[in-house]
């Protein structure tokens, strides 16, 4: 198992280096960074001085080396638009995005796994038909439409919940949380539901399909023939076997929720990294874009690593498989 994790880590480092290289190319060659940094009336001497100061006159590979070195220390340069260090910008906004992503993933997991099991165990019930139809709507409606619809119903018409922002926040160290105030929690509800709906339906359909498959296997039949209780069969034997593919998809979905919550964050004016990214693209704020690229890759690599480790915990066959290299 340790060898396996070491191998995975090694692969992760390669992935991160490749992504860093792409980010570096974007950073270095999309437009002239100096044109953005210097004022309009700078002369050639100012220009050359800045080139030297920023190390832009050095060979390509040394620049890349510096870029990776700085990235490892969390330094991605200064935002053109906001004139603040990029890493500070991202760190400031990261808590908002993570709280939103985690809240929506929890909703998606609980709802998706629960409904998936229900509809798999009662494949013929009317309620199952209703759930499956509703899930089709959930998959096919675009996120912004759901968000706007929810705002219209719960914020505009019923006036139960706020329609934008994070509400009051509390500062704990560098982490600014909205989970400790009632207005913060109330603000979280609508965006979290909006973001979770697609994942929920996806997980639900996946769990259902896997569960129906597992219920047909010999070992479930044998478990029934041994007279085990329904509960033990459904939740002990069947559910655990459906988990491997569900973990994969959920992990990747969590990654994309953190990385691409852009639409939801825009609709709800949520001050997270997604909206930071959108605004940066609009202003061609290249350092932020490059840093964001590296950040997203890091999220996916870390989540993939966690998913791989979870496989080991769930499936004993893989533990032995890793020993023999298969």
């Amino acid at each position: 198992m340790l060898a396996f994790i070491a191998r995975r880590l090694f692969q992760s480092v390669i992935v991160m280096l490749v992504v860093a290289f792409i980010a570096f190319l974007v950073f270095r060659y999309v437009g002239d960074p100096l044109a953005n940094l210097l004022s309009q009336d700078a002369n050639q001497a100012d220009y050359d001085a800045a080139r030297q100061r920023l190390g832009l006159d050095q060979p390509f590979y040394i620049q890349f080396f510096h870029f990776v070195g700085n990235a490892l220390q969390g330094q991605f340069g200064t935002s053109y638009r906001l004139q603040q260090p990029v890493s500070q910008l991202i760190l400031e906004r990261l808590p908002a995005t993570i709280e939103l992503a985690v809240a929506s993933s929890i909703i998606a997991l609980i709802g998706g796994v629960g409904l998936g099991i229900y509809s798999a165990l009662r494949p013929r019930a009317i309620s199952t038909g209703f759930i499956m139809t509703a899930s089709l709507i959930g998959v096919s409606l675009p996120t912004f439409l759901i968000g706007i619809g929810l705002i219209y119903i719960f914020a505009v018409e019923l006036k139960w919940l706020p329609s934008f922002g994070r509400g009051e926040v509390v500062q704990i160290g560098w982490w600014r949380t909205g989970l400790l105030t009632s207005s913060g929690l109330r603000s979280l509800i609508l965006p979290a539901i909006t973001l979770s709906l697609f994942q929920l339906t996806l997980i639900m359909r996946l769990v259902r399909a896997e569960m129906l498959e597992v219920m047909r296997t010999d070992y479930i039949r044998f478990a029934k023939a041994r007279g085990l209780s329904k509960r033990a069969i459904n939740f002990g034997h069947a559910l655990k076997n459906t988990m491997v593919p569900v973990i994969t998809i959920t992990g990747l979905q969590l990654g994309s929720v953190i990385a691409f919550a852009i639409i939801t964050e825009t609709v709800f004016q949520w001050p997270g990294v997604g909206s930071l990214f959108v605004n940066s693209v609009a202003a061609v704020d290249v350092p932020v874009m490059a840093a964001y690229l590296v950040f997203v890759a890091l999220v996916f690599v870390v989540i993939n690593l966690i998913v791989d480790i979870l496989y080991f915990i769930v499936d004993p066959r893989l533990r032995d498989g890793a020993k023999s290299g298969r």
Partner: protein, 546 residues
């Protein structure tokens, strides 16, 4: 007179379809006495497994019991509500399934599954249940049961897993065990042990056994009485000795006659002595195949880390033109790897294969030559034919790729001719594989193998997925084709009886090593290697009935 444990009377199981009702079990009646082993035998589709499912109450929807009654110790159980039936399962009726590789949950240890089952039915503590589980495993012949109890199913071999399954079935002390093909997925030598374990455990725990199988040999060894089923009906019931020696019904007689036996048939042509000279048509010399295990990915970059598993170890034999060489061995003995190397699907690590003087693994011309001359017939006719293709396209594919026939009319003529040769009506060429039975599909597969006009055909377990009576037909067809076209066969099988009937010489593979090689009769009548002797002894044979 004692009361029967199980009494089935006029049982009918129906599957309603949109415009038809299929009767899988049609008026079946028989009794099983306490401690008795009753064999239910029949070919696939005879309704024997469905009868077993009805007894334990696990018929898949939309099937249902449409008539008759099932009584357990006199108490009627077929009309009980589902909750009450579920209580009987495991507690009073246990079940053993065919495939030990799939009947255990892969994510739980063997001990967890045993303890769970025991505690579901018996009021014992966790520790007591665990002790009982260890005892059961030991009784089922699992060595070092106390250590092995925390292993996962995949850490056991097939035979060991089936022992675990039997231990699980008997864990709560049921009065009746329904064993559905308990040994069909296992090797012969393991099969014999499992039958012993099943019998021993059931005797020790006083359970009667309903043994469902297609293998008359297994019944002959195990059962007291047998029930012969055909198309949902009971054809004949009686003691095993009576039915095998004096079958009354035509169907039973046909069934018994189509079973190949390892005794030599009278009047069979005396096979020519096996030739090992260089003039033989197919020659296999010192064939070796190594597989690397351990350390995938970047560990491979480190030297000295690679372990090698030798699947085939210096196997040499030769086949004369127009003869059949039988290669026997248990699963994992390397026989299929040999076959793949000989037809050119897997590259050998070392060694040489020549067909009619051409090296199979030579590049260029030899490569093309091989494709024409050597063809293969696979084990599973359900998996080896592309379900989306029509039979005509399946058979014509080798001709097209090898450029034997190009224009449409010529191809169709040849396909029709091939279908006639395998005794199928040429009209079927417009059909899809699923419209055929297993035996017919295997004929299509044979026609496909013949379509490139090969001289040498490698048959990898050509009949092991088929019923005995169909098996006999396919084997007859193969013999006729051999006589007609002078084909040379390499017949790979775990079924010693099939090999004995078909081949003129035999090789016995064990762990990748050819332990014995020679004329069929010499090896079967006077085996030299211990392993061959063990294999022959393990074969369940109906002629051994006392």
């Amino acid at each position: 007179m004692t009361e029967p444990v199980l009494s089935i009377k006029d049982l009918v199981v129906e599957f309603p379809f949109r415009d038809d009702v299929f009767r899988a079990v049609d008026g079946v009646s028989f009794d099983i006495m306490p401690g008795e082993v009753v064999g239910v035998v029949g070919e696939s589709g005879a309704g024997k497994s469905m009868t077993g499912s009805a007894v334990i109450g696990l018929i898949d929807r939309p099937g249902h019991i449409a008539g008759g009654e099932i009584r357990l110790k006199g108490e009627r159980i077929d009309n009980l509500p589902e909750a009450a039936r579920a209580k009987l399962r495991g507690k009073r009726i246990g079940m053993v399934f065919q495939d030990p590789l799939t009947s255990l949950n892969p994510l739980y240890t063997v001990g967890d599954q045993l303890v769970e089952t025991i505690r579901t039915h018996l009021p014992v503590s966790e520790a007591e249940a665990r002790q009982k589980a260890i005892d059961l495993l030991a009784e089922a012949g699992i060595p070092k049961a106390a250590e092995r109890i925390d292993s996962y199913p995949h850490q056991f071999s097939g035979g060991m897993r089936q022992r675990v399954v039997i231990a699980l079935a008997i864990a709560a002390g049921p009065e009746l065990i329904v064993a559905d093909e308990p040994t069909s997925a296992l090797d012969v030598s393991v099969q014999a042990q499992i039958i012993k374990v099943l019998k021993k455990l059931c005797t020790n725990h006083g359970a009667a056994v309903m043994l469902i199988t297609h293998d008359m040999g297994v019944i002959a060894q195990t059962a007291d009485r047998m029930v012969v089923m055909h198309q949902g009906k009971v054809v004949e019931t009686g003691t095993v000795g009576d039915i095998i020696r004096r079958p009354r019904e035509p169907y039973t007689i046909k069934l018994i006659n189509s079973i190949p036996t390892i005794e030599r048939k009278d009047g069979a042509a005396t096979p020519a002595p096996a030739a090992n000279d260089d003039g033989a048509y197919v020659q296999v010399k010192k064939l070796v195949k190594d597989y690397e295990i351990g350390g995938g990915g970047f560990l491979k970059l480190m030297p000295g880390k690679v372990e090698v598993f030798r699947a085939v170890n210096e196997v040499s034999f030769s086949i004369e033109k127009g003869k059949t060489f039988g290669l026997v061995g248990e699963s994992g003995s390397g026989k299929s790897t040999c076959a793949k190397m000989i037809v050119g699907l897997v590259r050998p690590t070392s060694g040489q294969i020549t067909v009619d003087g051409h090296d199979i693994w030579a590049s260029g011309a030899g490569h093309q030559e091989r494709r024409k001359r050597v063809q293969m017939i696979f084990q599973d006719p359900y998996a080896s034919l592309n379900p989306r293709w029509r039979v005509a396209d399946i058979i014509a594919e080798p001709m097209r790729t090898l450029g034997i026939a190009r224009n449409r009319g010529e191809v169709d003529d040849r396909v029709a001719e091939l279908l006639r040769r395998v005794r199928l009506d040429p009209v079927v060429m417009r059909k899809f594989p699923h419209e055929f039975s297993g035996g017919q599909r295997q004929r299509v597969a044979i026609a496909r193998a013949l379509s490139s006009q090969p001289e040498f055909i490698v048959c990898d377990e050509p009949t092991s997925a088929l019923d005995v009576s169909v098996q006999a037909q396919v084997l007859d067809l193969m013999s006729e084709l051999q006589a007609e076209f002078g084909l040379t066969y390499l017949l790979i099988s775990h079924n010693l009886a099939v090999v004995r009937q078909m081949s003129s010489s035999v090789g016995v593979l064990h762990n990748g090593v050819l332990v014995e090689n020679g004329p069929t009769d010499a090896i079967f009548d006077n085996p030299q290697a211990d392993y061959t002797r063990m294999l022959l002894d393990a074969v369940p044979d109906i002629s051994k009935v006392a």
